[in-house]
């Protein structure tokens, strides 16, 4: 780490200070904006009374379970499509028709089928996470060194041994990148579902604060979601480096 890391903070700090001064001088009565100091106070209050942490738990459960389900399905489909070309061709139209459907567009149907609660949110998050993981995995399969596959054939490895001993390790760096991307999508989709329809979690917190005419609390939720998202990404990127060491760094650098 170099010693001038703080330089990156100059611009945000100046922007926050400007916003604070502007709000104070104008004596804003806006119902959708609030001064940074009020937002910080609302954030602290909501963290202390536990409401924001409970909401964070709900959102992370939905995003995490959706990511796990969608990611594993995507991984399985990606391996299948990547290794067995005829299946890939057979499913191409089906997949390309379903994939572009925006996850938010299935919300009304999901509400009818699942009702409020975790299940609906998990289903939609899983739907959104499936596709990037599937496509990355499929292309990772195509990117495996052909000689490795020849070795597998020469050794007469069973299909399972081929996947676990050759395919998976070779494709792992790309698959992890896919999961990191999907994790970011999972959080975005979970919060969107909560704002639009589902009465739980951080998104619902934003909605209730907005409708309750508490702009400071609403923006505090927004800031908190940013912090949660940033922490998740940092954690995942650390985990990726720890798990893969050099290989991960090479892959990310590409």
């Amino acid at each position: 780490m170099n010693s001038s890391w703080w330089k990156g903070l100059v611009v945000p700090a100046a922007l926050i200070a400007t916003a604070e001064v502007a709000m104070r001088i104008n004596g804003s009565t806006s119902m959708s904006l609030a001064a940074p100091s009020d937002i910080a106070a609302a954030l602290a209050a909501a963290l202390l009374d536990g409401s924001m942490l409970a909401a964070t738990r709900d959102t992370l459960i939905s995003a995490g379970a959706g990511l796990a389900i969608g990611g594993l399905l995507g991984l399985a489909l990606g391996i299948l499509f990547g290794l067995v070309r005829p299946v890939d061709h057979l499913m191409e139209v089906t997949v390309e028709v379903i994939r572009p459907v925006p996850s938010v567009a299935v919300l009304p149907i999901a509400l009818l089928v699942f009702g409020f609660g975790y299940t609906m949110e998990i289903a939609i998050v899983a739907f959104s996470c499936l596709w990037p993981v599937m496509i990355y995995t499929r292309s990772a399969m195509a990117g495996i060194e052909p000689r490795l596959m020849e070795v597998a054939r020469a050794l007469r490895l069973s299909p399972w041994a081929r996947i676990s001993k050759i395919v998976f390790p070779a494709a792992l760096p790309r698959i992890l990148v896919a999961f990191r991307l999907a994790a970011a999508i999972a959080l975005v989709v979970a919060v969107t579902v909560e704002i639009a329809i589902n009465p739980l979690g951080l998104g619902y917190g934003i909605l209730v604060a907005q409708q309750g005419l508490q702009p400071a609390l609403m923006l505090a939720y927004l800031v908190w979601i940013g912090i949660v998202g940033w922490s998740l990404n940092t954690l995942l990127s650390l985990a990726q480096q720890r798990l893969l060491g050099r290989a991960a760094r090479v892959e990310v650098a590409r």
Binding site: G64, A68, I69, L112, V113, T119, A196, P199, Q211, G212
Partner: protein, 311 residues
């Protein structure tokens, strides 16, 4: 983290998810939006009236009124507070819903709780001035916009010549100030704030010319639920009737209950008129809404209002 641990975590999360999603089915979850219209339910809950009548009631704040029919169908809520337009459009679309009790209705005492507010730069003063102007409304086809359009029609203005855009309540003042819209169709508590901030003036009270007792919100359920739970429904109706009297006679209790349900700060609510709680609902009121919606081509068929209020 090892693969096994990740899997275990996933399974644990799933297990937590499914146990969290299952709710006791005998209790009633009432879904309403963040307005004062469901004050009777909020009071019945906070004053223990539901409990006294043997009901285990919870209330859920629903973000969008138009989500209420789907929430009813999925049994996430057993009773909801849709606007008549949302209810009738859902019924028109084939959802088997019934009205079970009145929540709030229009009244000469509350006509000034909603209005259309225009900037002075827009030059809007009378209904005819809205032609070709951009007007923000909280929801297209929603309660306020339908009644505003009716007001235009009654004043010989075709609402199709007005450019409607959706603007949420909390952003109305800012949107109007920025000039992005010429006027907003709004209601309390936003309306008096917009006027107090000097952003615009009232260009029309479109509820003023309405007949008395036009429902604004009523309680509805699926026909299946209403048929299967006649005792719970009777208890619900009795509770709402008792609570409605409290809301109308002691508005501060209504405000307290609404503050508890919606998180709207008391200082905002204290200066605000509550909608009149009106537990009765009859077919003539629904017919009026059908006629009003038909004037604006909002319905495909003609709902049979005789069957839409649970006996």
């Amino acid at each position: 983290m090892s693969g096994l641990k990740v899997t275990a975590l996933g399974v644990a999360m799933l297990a937590a998810a499914f146990t969290g999603a299952t709710h006791a089915q005998t209790s009633i979850n009432v879904g309403c939006t963040a307005t004062t219209d469901c004050a009777s339910a909020a009071v019945a809950l906070s004053e223990g009236i539901f409990e006294k009548n043997g009901l285990d009631v919870t209330m859920t704040l629903v973000g969008l009124n138009s989500n209420i029919p789907a929430a009813l169908l999925s049994d996430s809520i057993q009773i909801g507070g849709p606007t008549p337009s949302v209810f009738l459009q859902a019924v028109d679309g084939g959802l088997d819903l019934v009205a079970v009790a009145g929540a709030s209705s229009t009244s000469a005492t509350t006509f000034d709780t909603a209005g259309v507010v225009a900037t002075s730069a827009s030059g809007i003063e009378k209904p005819q001035d809205f032609v070709g102007k951009k007007v923000g409304a909280p929801g297209i086809g929603a309660f306020l916009q339908v009644l505003f359009s009716k007001w235009l029609i009654d004043n010989d203005v075709d609402p199709r010549e007005v450019d409607f855009v959706e603007v949420t309540f909390p952003t109305m003042d800012d949107t109007l100030r920025s000039g992005a819209v010429d006027a907003v169709v709004t209601a309390e508590p936003m309306m008096s704030r917009i006027i107090a901030n000097g952003t615009g003036q009232v260009a029309g009270y479109f509820l003023e010319t309405l007949p008395e007792r036009r429902p604004a919100i009523f309680y509805a359920a699926t026909r299946t639920w209403a048929d299967a739970n006649p005792e719970a429904l009777a208890a619900f109706r009795a509770s709402i009737e008792e609570a409605a009297d409290i809301v109308n006679e002691n508005p501060d209790k209504g405000r307290q209950a609404i503050a508890g349900f919606t998180n709207i700060p008391m200082e905002v609510l204290s200066s605000m008129k509550l909608s009149v709680s009106d537990p009765q609902l009859d077919q003539e009121q629904l017919d009026w809404w059908v006629t009003t919606m038909n004037e604006q081509n909002m319905l495909q068929g003609s709902p049979d209002t005789a069957t839409l209020i649970q006996k």
